[in-house]
């Protein structure tokens, strides 16, 4: 039996499933609300009850990332590790790590001002997809069909003036069926995969209503998903892939606080159990 702690800031179905499964498996399980936890440079592990291992499940990326840094400062094993969450939360860093480790990924262009973003677009050609460097659920992902659309989106970015708004992540529009593939990797195993079919838009996020359909885990899918996971440091990850007409599978994103409510409806494996078992292996013995 291990002491498993689940750090949350909003309890979703996934956190409830993990808690229920950990209890069912006989582990000492507690939920910890990151929003009401105070930590400092003077904190010691004995000041808290962070157990033998923490599953960091905050819905806010930055909150979870910084909370993980504090936990690792206290030498508590966290899933996922700070470095992994740091890479996966940033689309530019993820793309770079995938490419560096020879994992097939869409061609992606980075610009650090609106002027060079437009230059990239003019040089590479329309259509392209612009994505926020940090963000999820398909929000802020826009298909740039032409110069007029690009001008409008870039102007909005300039006006909103967030610190990441002047970093432009532009990706080729991959020629593919109207779906993508979500694979859940736990450690060195692929535990589940599903197709996410678009509900009309070019986006295929479950959060936007895409329909989950079970996907066969082929050797090719398993191999590329494990390589993608390894490229970002491994752990419990959601690897997103597209099926390019000519190049085959391309990994376009990796999620470090993976949601699996949709996938658990179609998966043969018990996803929360796989996650808890993996956490136990990482726990302080």
């Amino acid at each position: 039996m291990s002491k498993i702690r689940i750090v949350f800031d909003r309890v979703r179905a996934e956190e409830k499933m993990l808690e229920e499964k950990a209890i069912e498996l006989g582990h000492d399980t507690k939920m910890i609300d990151a929003k009401i936890t105070r930590l400092s440079t003077e904190s010691k592990r004995s000041d808290f009850d962070f157990g033998d291992v923490v599953l960091e499940r905050c819905v806010s990326y930055f909150r979870g990332l910084h909370f993980t840094a504090c936990l690792e400062f206290l030498d508590i094993p966290v899933i996922n590790k700070f470095e992994v969450t740091n890479i996966c939360g940033n689309k530019i860093v993820t793309s770079l790590m995938l490419k560096k480790h020879n994992v097939p990924t869409p061609r992606t262009y980075f610009s650090f001002s609106s002027e060079t973003a437009l230059e990239n677009l003019e040089k590479v050609g329309y259509p392209m997809v612009i994505k926020p460097v940090v963000g999820s659920w398909g929000r802020g992902v826009v298909l740039l069909k032409d110069r007029d659309t690009a001008d409008a989106i870039i102007e909005v970015r300039e006006l909103s003036d967030g610190p990441l708004d002047r970093i432009y992540y532009l990706q080729e529009l991959v020629k593919r069926p109207p779906r993508d593939i979500r694979v859940i990797v736990v450690g060195d195993q692929v535990v589940a995969a599903m197709y996410r079919t678009s509900s009309g838009s070019f986006k295929t996020n479950i959060a936007l209503g895409a329909e989950p359909i079970e996907c066969e885990i082929t050797k090719e899918l398993e191999d590329i998903s494990l390589r993608a996971s390894k490229a970002v440091g491994g752990g419990i990850l959601g690897v997103d892939l597209m099926e390019d007409e000519t190049r085959g599978l391309l990994v376009h994103e990796i999620n470090s606080t993976v949601e699996f409510k949709g996938l658990s409806r179609v998966s043969k494996k018990n996803i929360p159990k796989e996650m808890i078992d993996f956490a136990v292996k990482s726990a302080i013995k």
């Binding site: 909003r10 309890v11 819905v59 806010s60 659920w137 929000r139 967030g162 959601g238 999620n255 993976v258």
Partner: protein, 55 residues
């Protein structure tokens, strides 16, 4: 219990846990369960969805 915004009746499931979000069916306000003691809950306004929210 009643919605802190519009006073409508809020139905909170017995198995709801701290950290879960309850939406008022009348005014649409979202509340987070801050504390739970048996059938008594303490609610606080839920955080707005942030730019960095997601997976």
């Amino acid at each position: 219990m009643n919605c802190p915004e519009c006073d409508a009746t809020l139905k909170i499931p017995d198995d709801a846990s701290v950290g879960e979000i309850i939406s008022c069916p009348d005014c649409g306000s979202d509340f987070e369960i801050a504390q739970k003691n048996g059938s008594t809950c303490q609610l606080k306004h839920a955080e707005k969805v942030g730019e960095d929210w997601g997976e």
